[in-house]
């Protein structure tokens, strides 16, 4: 028996280099809360290519990865900038193939959430009462219908999603790499347990998680790497640490509206910075310029 594969507590750049490869199916989850933005920047910085990105709500994190040309396919269920409007880089990729063509695989939230449950459960598909009458069925070979063997009711089936790599952000890890998260949990637990490899960035590393029974804890042995990246979910939020930066989400609408504006932002904030701490210093400068 090999030793139990405990997660290494490591630098984010090393975790991305070790566990995410060109062409991987990658899920970076977090339902508005705890979105692993710092990891997204590192994937862009390492210029990964040809990824299949899976996420219920692509949000600004995937707008950035898609605009940077890291993705050739997107699986999703709602692709807007929450409370603001369009994701301009996603739309440009879908409507005009810029910077590279982007195939899409579209679900409803119920469909994709159930697909992660099937993935974590290691069964080939999930069953749900869904999709009947929706044109989504016509444009996806991953939505089919089956008859219940007991009642005869016709139900929808979606195949399991089992990413090569899932990346999530959480509040805390202990020194062994056990991870605690709380608040709005979305599909993070399901996405983490469905994946072959899992990277978790956390706000802080503590001696004792002090997790109550039934808390959402991902044991170290289910994870590949744990990285301490304070603020790593910004501009989304980390419950108990910082709030959602709604200003940034609104600001992103301007930044991302043109290809030039987006490329300039990416160059200054991501390619010209070596890590997330530098990124945050530069972001603070540029936000101050914006709000002066």
């Amino acid at each position: 028996m090999p030793p139990a594969p405990y997660a290494a507590i490591t630098a984010l750049a090393d975790a991305v280099r070790s566990f995410i490869h060109d062409g991987d199916v990658v899920a970076m989850e977090g339902f508005t809360h705890l979105i692993p933005f710092a990891a997204g920047y590192e994937v862009i910085r390492q210029r990964l290519k040809n990824l299949t990105l899976v996420r219920m709500t692509p949000d600004v994190i995937y707008d950035q990865l898609i605009g940077a040309g890291c993705a050739s396919k997107l699986a999703f269920s709602w692709g807007g900038n929450p409370g603001v409007g369009s994701l301009h880089r996603l739309r440009d990729a879908v409507e005009h193939g810029w910077p590279v063509p982007l195939a899409i695989e579209e679900y409803s939230h119920a469909g994709l959430a159930n697909a992660y449950v099937a993935g974590a459960s290691n069964i080939p598909f999930a069953v749900l009462r869904a999709y009947t009458g929706s044109d989504l069925v016509k444009h996806s070979d991953r939505i089919r219908f089956i008859d219940c063997p007991f009642t005869g009711e016709t139900l929808a089936a979606v195949p399991a999603v089992q990413p090569d790599v899932t990346v999530i952000h959480a509040q805390k890890a202990d020194r062994k790499g056990n991870v605690l998260l709380w608040g709005i949990l979305g599909v993070q637990k399901e996405a983490a347990l469905a994946a072959k490899r899992c990277i978790v960035t956390v706000e802080e590393i503590v001696d004792d998680l002090q997790a109550p029974p039934n808390a959402c804890v991902l044991p170290s042995w289910t994870l590949s790497a744990v990285c301490c990246v304070p603020g790593g979910a910004h501009p989304s939020y980390a419950h108990g640490y910082y709030q959602r930066d709604n200003f940034f989400y609104q600001h992103w609408d301007n930044v991302s509206r043109t290809r030039e504006g987006f490329n300039d932002w990416l160059q200054r904030h991501v390619f010209d910075t070596g890590n997330f701490a530098e990124f945050r210093r530069v972001l603070d400068e540029s936000i101050t310029e914006q709000t002066r």
Partner: protein
């Protein structure tokens, strides 16, 4: 706000006003009338699955006025949310902080919506058709879209599984169309008993509230029919903002104008929300900025 007469231009609402949007000779905007008319439909103690944007505004206004015990459920996981300000995203921290409980997204869709516990699904729409089907996916061809919209989110299953559905949207001839390019979430398909034949648990859209009027499906044909006109709105205005020859009920009601308490609560809520969302809360570069 005790005196509702006069000052209509200076006191116009936060949405940016066109000439049409100020109801004639009254101190409320058509958007405010729409939100208030929709909020009135929500009964106290009902369990409501809330979409982000206009539905969330109307549902929270109901909670702050006549329906203090309405249970608001958001697809990110909060059950019984009582937010102090309107969420910009579907998973803002305030929703979790004020909820009776927060569950995972798979659980929301599996146990609560599919489980049959939702009285009212409250949805917005980019486009709606004559038989109350909703499009939030694409305008034009799916593979070569004229406009790519955000997609399904939770709506297809809310539309089929909630006991009743309310829809709220601004009425224009581009939004209220005879036939959709894409049915994301079903209303009554092509009318008559088409929906009933599919055997859904929920009875579908029972009301559509716009900034001009209230429409309800005809009991037999299921065609959307105007049953109430908002104050100062003419039949011609409604027809001009509808892409098919719209029918009017035999007895068309006049929507009662906003009551002072409704206006006061709505404007306070929107004022608090605007202030809360203007702040940038970029976490300090020095480390995790705890919020106490």
């Amino acid at each position: 706000m005790s005196n509702l007469a006069g000052n209509s231009v200076e006191r116009s609402g936060p949405q940016g006003e066109s000439s049409r949007s100020l109801a004639a000779a009254a101190d409320f905007t058509t958007t405010e009338m729409m939100t208030i008319a929709a909020s009135r439909l929500l009964k106290n103690n009902s369990v409501c699955f809330v979409g982000i944007g206009l539905p969330s505004t109307a549902a929270n206004l109901a909670r702050l006025t006549h329906a203090p015990d309405v249970v608001l459920i958001y697809e990110s996981g909060p059950i019984g949310a009582k937010p102090h300000v309107l969420p910009l995203s579907i998973g803002d921290g305030d929703l979790a902080e004020t909820a009776d409980t927060v569950v995972s997204t798979p659980e929301i869709f599996r146990y609560w919506l599919q489980g049959g516990r939702i009285d009212v699904g409250f949805l917005g729409a980019a486009q709606i058709d004559r038989f109350a089907n909703i499009n939030t996916t694409v305008i034009g061809d799916y593979h070569h879209p004229k406009t790519r919209l955000p997609g399904a989110g939770g709506a297809p299953e809310i539309a089929s599984s909630a006991k009743e559905v309310f829809v709220i949207l601004k009425q224009t001839a581009r939004a209220v169309v005879e036939k959709l390019d894409f049915i994301t979430s079903i209303g009554f398909l092509d009318g008559g008993d088409a929906r009933d034949r599919l055997g859904f648990p929920g009875k579908g859209p029972v009301v559509v509230v716009t900034d001009l009027c209230i429409m309800e499906p005809d009991p037999q044909t299921k065609e959307l029919t105007v049953t109430s006109l908002h104050p100062g709105v003419s039949r011609e205005q409604v027809q001009a903002a509808t892409a098919w020859p719209i029918r009017f009920a035999v007895q068309v009601r006049q929507t009662p104008p906003p009551a002072p308490a409704e206006m006061e609560n709505l404007r306070d809520l929107e004022r608090r929300t605007a202030i809360a969302h203007q702040r940038s809360v970029t976490p300090a570069p020095s480390g995790p900025a705890r919020l106490d």
